[in-house]
Structure formats: C-alpha cells, structure tokens
Symmetry: C2
Subunit: 281 residues, 2 copies
C-alpha cells in the first residue's frame, strides 16, 4: 500500500497511471472506514484500473461547534481495511498541506446547499465542495464514488462537477445498512447500545414513507406528519428536519409526481445522524 | 482557424493535443483584441506547442450597472488578428453553453478580492475566478497567459490555481502601452480624442511614483498625495482609487520596503480605466 501525504507526490503518482493509459477511481473519505466505505471501494474496482482513496478529516466542512476534534480516527486500521478490498494507494495529507498559510479560495454551490443539512450547518457544503475540487485536481480521477447516504453532498458534488466542467464522472453508490437497517456511518460509534436501538427509527420511517407512497399517498404533508409522529414516539431522538424533496434540485415538494427523496436528520443524544430514501409514485 | 463553440467539442480537441504528447497554452480574452492581447498570444507561442484563445464576454464578472451590453465585440476582426499571430483555435462559447439553466457554482477568492477593483465592483472577481476555473477545466492548458495590466485579476487567478491545486501554470505578461504610454484596453475605444489625451495622466503618475521611490521617497502617503494632486489637475479624470500594495497579498503598505505595486483606477468621462506599475525601493 502506498501512503502519500504530499500534493506534488500524489500528482506525480497519478500522472504515471495516466501516462500508461490506465484509468483511476477516487473514493474520498474522512477515514474511520466502515463496510459502507469498503463497498464504495469495491465498486471503484469495477469501474477503473486503479482505486485510490483519500483520508482527510476536512476542517472547512465542520462548523465551530461541531465534532472536528473528536471525529474518530484510526489510520492503521483504515489502511488494513482499504488494502483488504484492493485499494493501492491512500492520499493522506495533513491540514497544512491542503490549506497552507494564506489559503483563500472556496467553491460555493448555491441554492441546493441552502436547505436540508445546509440550513443547520452553514458553510458545511462550501467546505465539502472546496475539498472535493482540490481532491479532483490533485488526483485527476476518471471517476469518483460517493455514497447515497450523504444525498445532499452527492447532489452538490454533481452540480459542481457539471457547472465547473470538471472531467471526473461522479458515481452514486447505494447506502449500506446494518442488519437492523441503520445506515452505516462513522458517527454510529458515538451511540450507546440504547441510542443505537432507538436510531433504527430512521430506517423504519423511511420504509413507512415508501409504503405510504406505494399505497397511493402522494401528499407530502401527510407523509411528513406520519414520519414526525413515529420519530417523536422514540426516546432520545430529536428531529432536525424531515423533508421530501426533488431528487436533483432538492426543492421541497407538495405532491410526489414521480420520484422524490425523503431526507431526514435527527439527533440521538448528542449524535447527529442523517438518512434518506427515494420515494417512487 | 478552428472556431469551437461547444464545451464537449473543445474538450475533445484538447484531448487530441495531449494524446500526441504536445503542450497547450490558453489565452483567455473577452475579445475586441488589441496589440496587448496579441502580445499575450505571441508569448503563448514561445511557451507551448499550441496556442488557443477563448473569446467570451463573461456576464458573471459584470455588475448590474456595468457595460456588459455595450462591451465592444467584433468576432470577424478578432479571428483575423488571432490568426495573424499563429493562434490555431478560438473557443467561442455562448452564454447558455457556459451558464446553462440551473447553473449554481461560483469560485470565491477571499481577502485579495476585497480591495482595489474588488471594493467598487462587488462580485467582479467571483465572476473572473469562476469563468477561469471553467476555462481551465474545459481547455486543460499547460499554461495560461494573463496581462499584468489587470494586476488584481492576475493575483486572484494565481491564488485560485495554487489553492485549488490546478495544474495550469499562470504566466504574467507585461502591460503593452500605446506610444504615449496609455495602457492598451478594449475600453480605450470609448474615449473621445480629448479624453484619450487626458487619460495619459495614468501612465505619467505611475512613472512619477517610480521616480519618487528611486529618489528615496518610501512613504506611501507622500507618494499617493503627489499622485492624487497630478490626477486632480487633469480635466475629466475622476479617481476611483490610488493604492500602493504588497505585490502578492495586495495589502496596503505604509512604507515601501523592497517591492510594491501602485495600482489605480479612474473614470475618464463615463469610462473606467485601470493601470499599475511595480515600484522598487
């Protein structure tokens, strides 16, 4: 396994791959890898000759009162896990390497960053778009795989890549879930056993919403109401938002015409969790 | 001469050049080419195997009360001029091709965009950085040449390229001047013969400043004062700003320690002109 911490070394590594006429897939991560990440990497292996991942807990996407300092990290474990699914190289830069003294450039995707997680996490998607623009320029991947769990992030990255005419192809990969339906997340490790059980309500309300739509309910207010009731009946789970939005613009919908996405964020104790599912009318 | 209006066609054109192992220089312009632009293109020919230029009057860098609609345009003339200096291809996209329906992504370079022209033209450098990011991604040039006349623009582009780890090398080219010292600009065509004569005060105050520094005056307040006096004694010329700044950070300086840039903007009648020169202590 190659571990590269320097931007210029990473660029040189990638140039060699392209010089051989071979293709490259990037899986950007913040580390503390779980089965969801590994599935993105396995997907990457089917898409390109080489898979590299980045591990970078990106400070510009954390708010001042968020969990940057306590975000879980375990590089030795991550390295073994990545190797086990055929990753050849980890780009593992330090904060100074990515944001040196005098750094001043940020990529803003407007509109679709305003609702959902953007409303409660001002600047979050500015940080996400900026670090992804940098990673795409450094690693020059033919494709990059993102999980659908971070649905708004995926929509923001797609928008940025289209708008700025970047060459990378963005691949969406389905959310990987635990046996009881909880979406995998590095933040699940914060949950106590009881919180962990309560958190499964997220998956249950999403399936309930899918079933309501299948049964003919297309009025989003009614679906949201039933969702909110079920979450509120669960101890320790506090709603941040429950929204039913257009899959691309992320605009809130009154009626589900064909496809929509139900997206939600809650706090379970101090831990913020998000999840989403597509609803098909 | 190849004239390409479509982003995908432009990308394909450039891929062919790179596939042959040859290099490419881009000269971004807003058209209405003058000798200054042509000199950037000649410089480009010394730097790379191929020179392409873009001609795009970029709406996102014009403010609501600026001269977007009246900005001078003459494509047939531009095409002949570019051909005369060995340009092989013009990228000439329409506004819808660059900013299609739903466009939402902007590149912001902070700090160095706040003073000088940024103070009076809010959003201008956001538009400049955004369109250059797009042009660099579309044309994938090995280098791009920018004139020093737009000094702040050059500093903003350099900052963006460094910060976002873009591969293009930014080349600064000295300002080309008319025989009487007026910096060449597409906007000079707006000037009446009398305004044209009055506008030469810009070059004269910059040379006066260089001579003051050479004579031992390092106090920027004193140099600015003499500059302002000479401009104010010229009919029809109204100062927007006169600043002496650090060459990279563009921070205003009290004393000139080694190198500084005097940058100024005036209105001559309704026409806004800018110019700058390096001052060496």
């Amino acid at each position: 396994m190659d571990v590269i911490t320097d931007v210029h070394d990473m660029k040189a590594y990638v140039r060699e791959i392209h010089a051989m006429g071979e293709t490259l897939c990037l899986v950007p991560t913040m580390g503390y890898l779980h089965e969801g990440h590994l599935d993105l990497m396995r997907r990457g292996r089917t898409l390109a000759d080489h898979v590299i991942i980045s591990i970078f807990v990106n400070p510009t996407q954390f708010g001042p009162h968020e969990d940057l300092d306590t975000y879980p990290r375990d590089f030795a474990r991550d390295e073994k896990l990545a190797e086990s699914v055929g990753v050849e190289c980890i780009f593992f830069p330090g904060v100074q390497e990515m944001y040196p003294q005098g750094y001043a450039t940020y990529v803003n995707v407007e509109q679709i960053t305003e609702g959902l997680c953007g409303a409660g996490r001002p600047g979050h998607f500015r940080g996400v778009a900026t670090v992804c623009a940098k990673l795409f320029n450094i690693c020059d991947p033919d494709c990059a795989v993102f999980g659908e769990k971070d649905y708004q992030q995926l929509a923001v990255i797609r928008r940025m890549v289209d708008d700025l005419n970047m060459r990378v192809q963005i691949i969406a990969h389905p959310t990987v879930r635990e046996a009881d339906g909880l979406a995998m997340s590095s933040r699940n490790k914060y949950l106590s056993p009881e919180q962990r059980r309560n958190a499964t309500v997220l998956n249950r309300v999403l399936i309930q919403a899918q079933e309501l739509v299948k049964a003919g309910e297309h009025d989003t207010a009614a679906i949201r109401q039933k969702t909110i009731e079920l979450i509120r009946s669960t101890p320790e789970v506090v709603i941040d938002y429950v929204e039913i939005v257009h899959p691309e613009t992320l605009a809130c919908l009154d009626m589900i015409e064909d496809q929509a996405v139900m997206a939600l964020a809650v706090k379970v104790g101090p831990t913020r969790l998000i999840d989403n599912m597509t609803l098909e009318a």
